[in-house]
Every structure is written in C-alpha cells, then in structure tokens.
Amino acid sequence: MYTGSITVADTPLLRYVLGRADDALVLGHRLSEWCGHGPLLEEDMALSNMALDLIGQARALYTYAGEVEAAGRDEDAYAYLRDVTSYANLLLVEQPNGDFARTIVRQLLFSAFIDPYWRALMASTDPTLAAIAAKAEKESAYHLRHASEWTVRLGDGTAESHARAQRALDELWPFTGELFTMPAGERALIDAGIAIDPETLRAPWRATVTRVVERATLTLPADGWMQRGGREGRHSEHLGHLLSDLQYLQRAFPGATW
C-alpha cells in the first residue's frame, strides 16, 4: 500500500527515462488544461490530441522505467507518487499555458527539439527506447507542424497577435538553454549508444526555430542568461501546483484502485 512519496533508485538509465517521461506528462497535462477552453473548437480538438499523444508517450516511458527499476512499480507510481524535487522535466514544459500564443510558442520550442531527438533515438541500442522513439517521432512531427503553422499565423496575423507571439517568444527563450544540458551520468548512456547527445541537436533546432520565426515576421531573442535546474529537480513554483492537481486523488486515498 502506498503511504507517501516514493524514493526511486538513482541509476543513470532510470533517471534518463523518467526525465523524458516527465517532459511528456507535464507538457501533456498543460495542453489538457485547454480542453473546453480553446479559442476555437478545432483547437480544442488539436490541443487535446497532442495532450493524448504526450500522455501516451509518458505512459510507455514510465512503464519502461518500472522494468528498468524492477521494484514492482507501475506507470502511476512514478506519475502520482513522486514529489516535485523528484520530477526531472525541463522547466520549459512546466511553464503555465498563458495565452494561446504562449502555449503555441512553448510547443514550437519544445517540438523543434524533441522531434529530431526522437528521430535520432530510433537508432538507440536500447530496443525499448528505439521503439518508443519511433512512435513518438510521428506524433512530434505533427506537433511541430501544428505549432509552426500557428506561430506563423499569429506572428504574421494582426498587430495584437504579433505582439503576443513576440512576447511569448521573449519570455520563453531563457528556458531553451536547458534543452541542451546533459545531467550527470548521461554521458555514459550516450557513449553506449542508448541516449542522444542533445548538443548535436542545437544547430538543427536553431535552424528550425529561425525558419519559423522569420516566416512569422518575429525576432529571435538574443541568447542571454538561460534558466536551468529542472533535470535536477529544481523547478519553478508552477510545477508544485500542477502536481497538486495531478496527484490529488492518489494522495488523498492512498492505496486505492481507480
């Protein structure tokens, strides 16, 4: 019976898998907050679809984490019973939805990274990760297309939408540096061909984002101070509130089956 937060074994592979799972779950959760409140019904559908894709990816990764840890934990144990400092997602994905422009730009910045990341991970020497990557890549390719098209529409739409899109880009930019950081222990996974060196994706990521930003008539922000810490469990205040919602029932009724 679960009685409180769990403590997860600290091995490089488990930490790596959980980080990717947390990215997907937290961003999926954020997108699901739009359901019923989108700017048009078509976007209620699209954002919900992307939320489902991401939650599906998270489930596959958490399930794999359970196999890696071999401590008898299922997907829900990792999602519902780890506290904020155990979550290892990027700060970018936990940022609040804000207006539609902020949600779209967040999706663009993340998808432009994760899509080539999954594509590269399809060649992982870890067959489970390669299989998860193959499925996720198809989904993230669509997320990137959707976010790119909307970024262009908003940037090159009205004066108001342009200003909102530019503000979103400026405010989220300091969270993009963390995309390319490598937590301790990940180097060994990269050398073993299990994980991908994120640094190799910096140039393609920047090229994709620049292309979209230019078509959107927006201005790429200067690279100033970059926030980091999510991968090590040092989050913004926003994540705790997200987890309070997400984990409420499991925490209020320990051990119950739903």
Binding site: A58, G157, T158, A256, W258
Partner: protein, 332 residues
C-alpha cells in the same frame, strides 16, 4: 459558404405554404424517406430542426465543461487519457452537429452567438457540478445512458444529415457509457470511501438525469408536430421509463441504492415505477438558476472572448496569403 449554396426558403413571403408540396413532403415522411438539405421542406420543419440540432450541439460543447473539470485530477494515467479522449469526442460531436445544422441555412457562428447571448438552450444536466471523481463515472453511466435513450431513435430521424450524425454519435456515446459504468464498478468494488463516493454521485445525478427527458408528455410543447414529422419517435415519458427500466438493474448490480423510496417493480406491467420528479427544480435550472448555469456560460463566453484575437489573426493571415498569392500570379 456551404450553407449559402443550398436552397433557402424565406419565411412569410409566400403566404400559406403550397398545400400540394406540404402533402408530398408528408407522404415522403410517411414512406420513411429521408429529407435532404436541398429538398423542399416546410419552414416550421426547418425551424424545429435548427432549434433541436443546435441545442444538441450546444449541449455537447457545454457538456465538455463538467467533465473537463476532472481532466487534470484524473486518478490514473489510463483514466486521464480516457477522459481527455471522451471530452474530445464531445467536442467532435458538437462540431459535427453544428455542421448538420448548417445544412439548414444557418452558420455555426450565428448559433454560437445565440448561445453566448443566452438565447439558445442546452441540456439542463450540464448545470450541475462535478464534485468528486465518482461524478465522472455517474455522468458516463447515467447522463450518457440517458442521452443514448434519446438519441438512438434519432438515428431514424426524417432529416438525413441529422440521422446520419446521430448514428456516429451514438456509437461513441455507447462506448462512453460503458466507460462510465466501469468507473462506477471500480469504485463500488473499492474501499468504503470509494463506494460512498459512488453512492453520493448517484444520489446527486439520478433525479436530474430523469429530468433530461423533458417535461411529462401532457406538458410537452413540441411533441405533436415533431412526431408527425418523424423527428421524434417516442414520447418523453416513454423514453424516461425505458431509461429507468434499463438502469435500475445496473444500479443493483453495482450494489448501490437509487435515491427514490417510491421505486418498485410492477409485476403486471414489468416496469419499474418511480416517485414524483421535482419539476420545479427542472424549471429553475431551465430559467438559469441551476447550481452552475452562470459558471458554464461564463466559461464559454470567456473561451470565446479570449479566442477572438486568435480567430482574427487566422483570418488576417489568410487574407495576407491570398493577397500574396494574387500578387505573385499577377507578376508571373
């Protein structure tokens, strides 16, 4: 644009409708033929359908709110994914039904404006709050169950686009209902606290669900003509009875108690007899005084208002693209 390409009838310009056309129309209905968008139809038939289909569409969209209220708090990743998919289905039903209404010469924008202006109705049931996770089970089981009772006969509705929309909607609703019942079953077989949660949800949703079928037949305003036109095939009371008969054994299987001391099985009629429905509550909810009427409308209005700059941006960008394409064609 699609709507404008269809044959339109301007009401009140031709005096009494062509009696011969009306007789031909009724004969087609009686022969169980489907009426299609370009066919002649009485103005009142068109009006009735626009009202009914748009109310139905509005109900799907407003209905996203009470269940959406639990998406971020669903108790497992499997439940979370299923709930998002379910609410998304409802959005899809709404869009599908708005499209069916558009074949009658109205636009989605007009219909949505009427909803937001408080001039159009949606199902009374969505003005009740979802307080616990068990409400998500109860809605799937009871609200979707009641909706299916109402909607299965609409699959044979005389208006083609509506009947075809309902076939698809009913398939998805049946899936939702099984999903809701499975949530209730899990709770009913869970801890004492979970079972109490399920019982409390049933207590709160049972009577409002019986009200979903509308006022008793003796007081129903629209039934007579709707029946003649085969828009409606069963009376409110008949459908309500059917729902009660189907649902009572399901509640017993769950080991839950229906909140009606007058409930009893009549051996002679083979029907479950139930107590008096509080129609004053129903009237209050319809009049805007349900527990959540104001919140629901405020949420829809906020989504619409907050999305205005997005829709404007999409239109402005599309206009720029057209202008650029025209300029490029001119230069070539």
């Amino acid at each position: 644009m699609y709507a404008q390409s269809l044959n339109q009838q301007v009401e009140g310009t031709t005096g009494p409708e062509d009696a011969e056309a009306a007789a031909r129309f009724q004969a087609r209905i009686d022969a169980e033929e489907r009426i299609e968008p370009n066919d002649w139809m009485p103005a009142a038939y068109r009006r009735t359908l626009v009202r009914q289909i748009s109310q139905h569409a509005h109900s799907e969209i407003v209905g996203m709110l009470p269940e959406g209220n639990w998406i971020t708090r669903a108790p497992s990743l499997r439940r979370k994914a299923a709930l998002i998919a379910k609410v998304q289905d409802e959005c899809g039903h709404g869009m599908y039904l708005y499209a069916a209404a558009e074949t009658l010469g109205v636009t989605r924008e007009q219909l949505v404006d009427e909803l937001l202006a408080g001039k159009a109705k949606y199902s009374s049931i969505f003005n009740y709050p979802t307080l616990t996770w068990a409400d998500i089970g109860a809605i799937g089981w009871l609200v979707d169950g009641a909706a299916i009772m109402n909607q299965i006969p609409l699959c044979r509705c005389s208006y083609g686009p509506y009947s075809r929309a309902m076939i698809r909607v009913c398939k998805e609703e049946s899936f939702h209902q099984r999903q809701g019942y499975e949530i209730m079953l899990t709770l009913a077989r869970g801890t004492a606290a979970q079972k109490a949660m399920a019982q409390d949800a049933l207590n709160r949703w049972w009577w409002p669900c019986l009200m979903m079928f509308g006022p008793p037949d003796a007081q129903s305003q629209h039934s007579d003509t709707s029946t003649r036109w085969k828009i409606k095939r069963f009376s409110n009371d008949a459908l309500r009875q059917k729902f009660v008969d189907a649902t009572v054994p399901q509640a017993h299987f769950l080991g839950l108690t229906l909140p009606d001391p007058a409930l009893r099985f009549n051996e002679a009629t083979s029907h479950w007899e139930f107590g008096e429905i509080d129609w004053s509550e129903f009237k209050q909810v319809l009049a805007g005084n349900g527990p959540c009427n104001r919140d629901r409308m405020a949420a829809r209005r906020a989504a619409h208002a907050n999305g205005e700059w997005v829709r404007d941006a999409a239109l402005a960008y599309a206009a720029k693209e057209r202008a650029r394409a025209a300029a490029a064609a001119g230069a070539a």
